[in-house]
Symmetry: C2
Subunit: 156 residues, 2 copies
DNA sequence: GCAAATTATTTCAAGCTTAAAGTTTCATAT
DNA sequence: ATATGAAACTTTAAGCTTGAAATAATTTGC
């Protein structure tokens, strides 16, 4: 993964490979920048931000398994991140009457306010970091990636 | 990060934000699939594959700091991955006469052959996973991502 | 020549990540 | 009722990841 500038081999499968490498490098580059800024400016991490973003969109709460599916990470992973957010008072687990295996996870009032603050700044960062991508290209790129997702979800 | 299907807010910065989310989800989706296949088929990991891919392109070897820069990961990170590859006999460190702080890291003969095998299969996977992206879209996407990279590299 | 700054790397602590195994609870079929 | 199995979650072990501190070697400025 993450091969880079050099010979530029050609052939049948090479175009897709080159696309994948570019895609991966672009997202890693941006991710690294965001991680650094989240740490410096808000003393938090990308995974915590991801979880909070998911919960912010679901005021009624989410199950752990919902979070895991939505964030594309493993089940056990979410446990740890939520544990930390709980211990920081940003997230709460609520046991449910119906099914005692599950717990609804949601932002606390503090968590919600904290997230709103960070999210606003975050959106500005993205605007800055992707600012050189023209409106047109941004829309085209988004469209292609959306159709990639549709194809993926509907595969075999 | 990784927000998903839902309201679809609109506004000035929202287009870039949506693009970023799509980009991140696409690369995470593909990455997860590759990670799983590398584990199942070759009992290896993505980071190991990345390091070996970098070294494969540099038969004369690379410094640790070159690897770190090239792979967009921290210095300390590379140390651990290379340690494991060395203990598996796939990579070798060679101390240099000139500068004794540094060591040239390169693939062993076994490492080179192992990587060639995996890389061939890997390329097929990418072709499969990105197969639904048309040739045209692939070229366009690659072009946009390339110009993103140029802009990024040339920012103050 | 030698102290100070710089460079290359490793070590460390904390946190993230996965896959697999374990626990508790629920649903179902006897 | 009670076994059997499935579901939701947590725990565990191994590995990845970062940022910061430590170590060692080189270069620079007097």
């Amino acid at each position: 993964m993450v091969a880079g500038p050099l010979p530029a081999p050609s052939g049948p499968g090479k175009d897709r490979l080159r696309l994948w490498i570019r895609l991966l490098r672009a997202s890693r580059t941006i991710e690294a920048e965001l991680r650094e800024r989240l740490k410096k400016e808000f003393n938090t991490t990308l995974p915590r931000f991801d979880v909070m973003a998911a919960l912010y969109r679901a005021p009624e709460g989410m199950l752990m398994s919902d979070l895991s599916r939505f964030l594309l990470v493993s089940n056990g992973n979410v446990t740890g991140i939520v544990d930390r957010l709980v211990s920081e008072g940003l997230v709460a687990r609520a046991r449910r009457n119906g099914d005692r295996r599950t717990s609804m996870v949601r932002l606390t009032e503090e968590g919600s306010q904290t997230f709103a603050t960070i999210a606003a700044v975050h959106e500005g960062w993205i605007g800055e970091l992707l600012g050189k991508v023209s409106e047109d290209d941004a829309r085209r790129l988004t469209g292609m990636l959306t159709s990639f997702r549709s194809n993926w979800e509907g595969r075999e």
